[in-house]
C-alpha cells in the first residue's frame, strides 16, 4: 500500500482488513492516523451548517458558480493527480483563479526546484549515494517522519553500506532545536531571519576565509564536511520563508557547493502540474492563463471582488492570518474534503469526499516528482474529490 500521509509516499505499508479489524504495518504515526481516520471526524454535507444530501450540496455549488463573476479554486496539495486535473478543467470552464499552498509557504523554493536553476535528485539515489544531508529550515522528523529513515540518513544504500554510523553525515540548520536537529550529527542554530548571513559565512569558509558570524569552529567544521562530500543534498523547508527575498543567494550557494536541492514540502506535485501546463506554479488566472501575486489566496481573500472560493483538501484557514481566514465566512466558500477542520468550519458549503489512498485510488506525485499509483483499501460510500469536481463541472 502507498501512504499519502505526506509527500514521502512510502510504498512499503502492509494493510490488512480482517472482518473489519484493520492493521497497518510500517506506517509512521502520521500515515497510520490518516488511514485510521476513515471513521473519525468525517465531514458531513452541509449548507450554512445545516445537514443536506450530497446532491443538494453539489447542486448548490453549481448554482453558486453559475451565478458568479469571480471565483477561485484553492488547495489540492494533498489530492491525487486526477483531482488536480479536474480542478483545472473546472477552473478553465468558469475562468477562475487557481492557487495552492505554495503561494503562502515555500513557492519560491519549489519554483527553483522545477525550473532547472538547481540540481535535483531522486530519493532512491539519495538512499544509495547520499553522504551528507543538510536540513535547512525544515524538520522532516515532524513533517515527513520517514524521510530520514527511508532515504537520507538511516538506511543502508547501495553505495552507503555502513549507513548513518559511518557513511552518512547530517547537519541541521534552524532557528529552534527541532526533533530533526536532535538527531543530526551537527546543529547550527540561527538567529531568526539570519539565513542570509549564514550563506555569506559559508561562502567565506569555502573560500578559505574565517566566517564573520557564529560559532567559527563549528562553521569551519561544517565547511570541511561540505568540501569532502561526494553526494550532498540540501533538504529545505519553509523556515527559509523569512529569507525568501534572498532565494537566489541560497540557490547560488547550493550550486557553488555542488549539492542538490530537495524541498521538504507537500505542494510540489500540484505545483509541477501547473508549471508544466501554464509555466507558473500558483496564483494563475485560468481565464487568460496569467500569473499575478494578486491571485494568491492571501490577496484574493483580502480583495472585495471575490465572490466565492472552492477549497479542496487543504486546511488553509489554519495557516492564514486569522483576519484573512475569517473572510471565508463573508463569501461563498465551499470546502471539499474528507474531514472536518477549521477551513470546513468557516465554509458555507461542505462536501465530504473519500480519503485518497484509503477509500479511493489515484495517481500521486512524490516530493522528488516520482509518480506512484495509490489503490483503495477500504470500501466507502464517499465520492472521490475528482468525481465531485467532475459532477460540478458537468452540471455547470
Amino acid at each position: 500500500m502507498i501512504c499519502l500521509g505526506c509527500s514521502c509516499l512510502c510504498d512499503d505499508l502492509d494493510f490488512k482488513n480482517e472482518d473489519g479489524k484493520i492493521t497497518v504495518s510500517n506506517a509512521c504515526l502520521k500515515g497510520f492516523k490518516r488511514i485510521d481516520s476513515f471513521n473519525k471526524n468525517r465531514l458531513i454535507p452541509s449548507i450554512n451548517n445545516e445537514k443536506k444530501s450530497i446532491d443538494d450540496v453539489i447542486n448548490k455549488t453549481i448554482e453558486i458558480l453559475n451565478n458568479s463573476k469571480k471565483s477561485a479554486i484553492f488547495g489540492l496539495e494533498s489530492s491525487v493527480i486526477e483531482a488536480q486535473n479536474e480542478s483545472i478543467k473546472l477552473g478553465e470552464k468558469i475562468g477562475s483563479i487557481i492557487d495552492n499552498f505554495s503561494s503562502v509557504h515555500g513557492g519560491y523554493l519549489i519554483e527553483k526546484f522545477l525550473d532547472g536553476s538547481v540540481k535535483t535528485c531522486a530519493l532512491d539515489d539519495v538512499r544509495d549515494n547520499c553522504d551528507l544531508s543538510i536540513y535547512w529550515g525544515c524538520d522532516p522528523m515532524s513533517t515527513h517522519p520517514r524521510l530520514m529513515s527511508k532515504f537520507s540518513y538511516y538506511p543502508r544504500g547501495k553505495n552507503r553500506q555502513r549507513g548513518w554510523e559511518e557513511d552518512r553525515n547530517t547537519i541541521s540548520i534552524d532557528a529552534r532545536k527541532s526533533l530533526t536537529a536532535n538527531i543530526t550529527k551537527k546543529f547550527i542554530k540561527l538567529r531568526p531571519g539570519s539565513d542570509f548571513e549564514l550563506f555569506e559565512a559559508f561562502k567565506d569558509v569555502l573560500s578559505g576565509k574565517l566566517p564573520k558570524i557564529g560559532d567559527k569552529r563549528l562553521l569551519m567544521d561544517v565547511g570541511t564536511s561540505i568540501k569532502k562530500a561526494k553526494y550532498g543534498v540540501v533538504f529545505a523547508g519553509d523556515g527559509l520563508d523569512y529569507s525568501r527575498e534572498r532565494v537566489n543567494d541560497f540557490i547560488d550557494l547550493i550550486n557553488d557547493i555542488g549539492f542538490k536541492l530537495q524541498p521538504v514540502m507537500d505542494s510540489i506535485g500540484f505545483s509541477k502540474l501547473l508549471f508544466d501546463r501554464f509555466g507558473f506554479i500558483n496564483s494563475i488566472n485560468l481565464e487568460d492563463k496569467s500569473h499575478s501575486e494578486d491571485n494568491s489566496i492571501f490577496n484574493v481573500l483580502k480583495s472585495d471582488d471575490i465572490e466565492n472560493i472552492l477549497i479542496v483538501e487543504s486546511d488553509i484557514a489554519s495557516y492564514l492570518p486569522y483576519k484573512i481566514a475569517k473572510r471565508l465566512k463573508d463569501i461563498n466558500s465551499i470546502y471539499i474534503g474528507p474531514h472536518n477542520n477549521l477551513t470546513a468550519y468557516l465554509s458555507k458549503i461542505t462536501i465530504p469526499s473519500s480519503i485518497a489512498g484509503v477509500e479511493s485510488g489515484g495517481n500521486v506525485c512524490r516530493m522528488d516528482l516520482k509518480e506512484e499509483k495509490a489503490e483503495k483499501v477500504i470500501d466507502s460510500d464517499f465520492l472521490p474529490s475528482y468525481d465531485i469536481l467532475n459532477k460540478i463541472r458537468e452540471g455547470l
Binding site: 504515526l29 492516523k33 501575486e293
Partner: protein, 118 residues
Amino acid sequence: MSDNDLIIIGYENRNVFKDDDPFDSSYTEKMAIIELAEDDMKSNDITDDENVLVYNDYGEVIVKAKKIEEGDVGIAGMPKGPWFSALLSDKTEDFYRHIHARIKKTGDHITTIESLFG
C-alpha cells in the same frame, strides 16, 4: 520592535494530524501553547502550564506556557495553527517576518477557536 518583545517561531507539531478534530479538547491542549525559555518565564513571573496572554498589533490569544529545554532568551515557539495565526500580520510584507509579541500571565481561560473565529 520593543526590547520586551519576544520573537515567536512557528513550528509543525508532530502530534497533530490533518484529520484531527479542531474542536476536540486534545487539539487545543496540543496547539494552544507557547514554548518559553526558562529565563523568559522567570522574568514574566510565569510557571509551567500557567495561562498567558500573547498579544501584538495583529491579535491576542490566551495559551498555556510550556518551558522549553535549551531555549534562547527572547525566542518562543508556537505550533502553526489557529492560535499562532491569530498573531500573524495580514500585510504581505510583514507576514514573512517573524512574529513579535508580548506575554502576560493571566487567570483567564485558553482562547477557543469559536471565540477567535465566531
